[in-house]
């Protein structure tokens, strides 16, 4: 059998394939990117909430089963998690009684059992495309004990 044309596929088919591949890849990138941008939580306009976490300023102390917390920063705190370490292990939970949050300059006292280590992790309320969402500032925990 004699092969005169050395092209594997015709230029028309190649062009159609190329365009289809580009469209499909563009679609995949678009969907992926839309997903990423939809997950961004913002605070104070368009600022990423991760930056707002860095602006949180807390004063906290612990005495005889009571946690004293004051919000000295300019960011309202909507929730608080407590990471405690005792002989039985480590646990993280929402601070009981911290239901109304702490506004700017606000302060409160909360009953909490004694442990070896206590770390306060602030939770901020931010905005997403789908509405409001809480964000836990994991990297901005503050040791009290």
């Amino acid at each position: 059998m004699k092969r005169g044309n050395k092209n594997a596929i015709s230029p028309v088919v190649a062009t159609v394939l190329l365009i289809m591949m580009v469209v499909v890849i563009a679609l995949i990138i678009f969907l992926w990117f839309r997903n990423i941008s939809g997950e961004v939580i913002t605070k104070e306009g368009t600022e990423n909430i991760k930056l707002a976490c860095g602006k949180v300023k807390l004063s906290a102390s612990y005495s005889s089963g009571t946690l004293f917390i004051k919000n000295d920063g300019t960011i309202p705190i909507s929730g608080m998690k407590v990471k405690s370490t005792s002989s039985s292990g480590s646990s993280t939970e929402n601070l009981p009684g911290f239901d109304n949050g702490l506004g700017v300059g606000g302060a409160g006292e909360y009953t909490y059992p004694e442990s070896e280590d206590l770390v306060l992790i602030p939770v901020l309320l931010g905005k997403t495309k789908d509405g409001q969402r809480n964000y836990v500032c994991q990297d901005h925990g503050q040791a009290v004990i």
């Binding site: 300019t74 300059g105 606000g106 302060a107």
Partner: protein, 184 residues
């Protein structure tokens, strides 16, 4: 046979290049714009409040009454303040809000708004609040617990970048005053 070895013409090459660059730049802008820090509402240096004098008394029913004279010792007019008390010995951070016991008749127009733990010297438009070097006396009555100290944090009106007037909490200008109460 292909005589022209160019894949696409020079013109289309440029158009594609610019188009791709603009698309990537658009994606990067959308993705990174949230990482640009916004202007933080901060109190200017020079905002300061001080306690000139105080009297604290308590009655047989265990109700405390605090009369405190505050002075604007800073360079800016003060819009208001927040006041918290410690009610146990050894308590480092004052967490008991005294603003809810504020006596409205004592402050010469000062008010406390429900739900907001601040006292405003005079929130009316045109008022400058407590102006520099002036002082005022405020009364807090029927406080149901003993007071050991108070933390007072001044508030200042500041203009934001978009020309809005907002309230800044001067956390760095917070003062602490130990309180001793006597029986009446």
């Amino acid at each position: 046979m292909i005589k022209n070895k160019l894949g696409v013409s020079g013109m289309i090459g440029y158009v594609l290049l610019i188009g791709i660059v603009m698309t990537i730049a658009g994606f990067m802008y959308i993705f990174l714009r949230s990482y640009v820090p916004q202007e933080e509402l901060t109190c200017p240096d020079g905002g300061s409040i001080s306690v000139l004098k105080y009297t604290c008394v308590f009655n047989s029913a265990g109700e405390y009454k605090l009369n405190i004279t505050l002075k604007n010792s800073g360079r800016f007019d003060l819009y208001g303040y927040s006041i918290y008390a410690t009610n146990t010995t050894g308590q480092k951070i004052a967490t008991s809000d005294l603003s809810k016991y504020f006596d409205f008749e004592s402050g010469g127009g000062a008010v406390q708004i429900d739900g907001i733990q601040n006292i405003y010297f005079n929130p009316n438009p045109g008022s400058n609040g407590l102006i520099t070097s002036k002082s005022t006396s405020h009364m807090f009555k029927e406080i149901p617990y003993k007071i050991f100290s108070v933390d007072i944090t001044p508030l200042i009106k500041v203009e934001t970048k978009d020309n809005r007037i907002d309230t800044a909490v001067c956390g760095d200008a917070k003062i602490k005053e130990n309180i001793e109460c006597v029986s009446v």
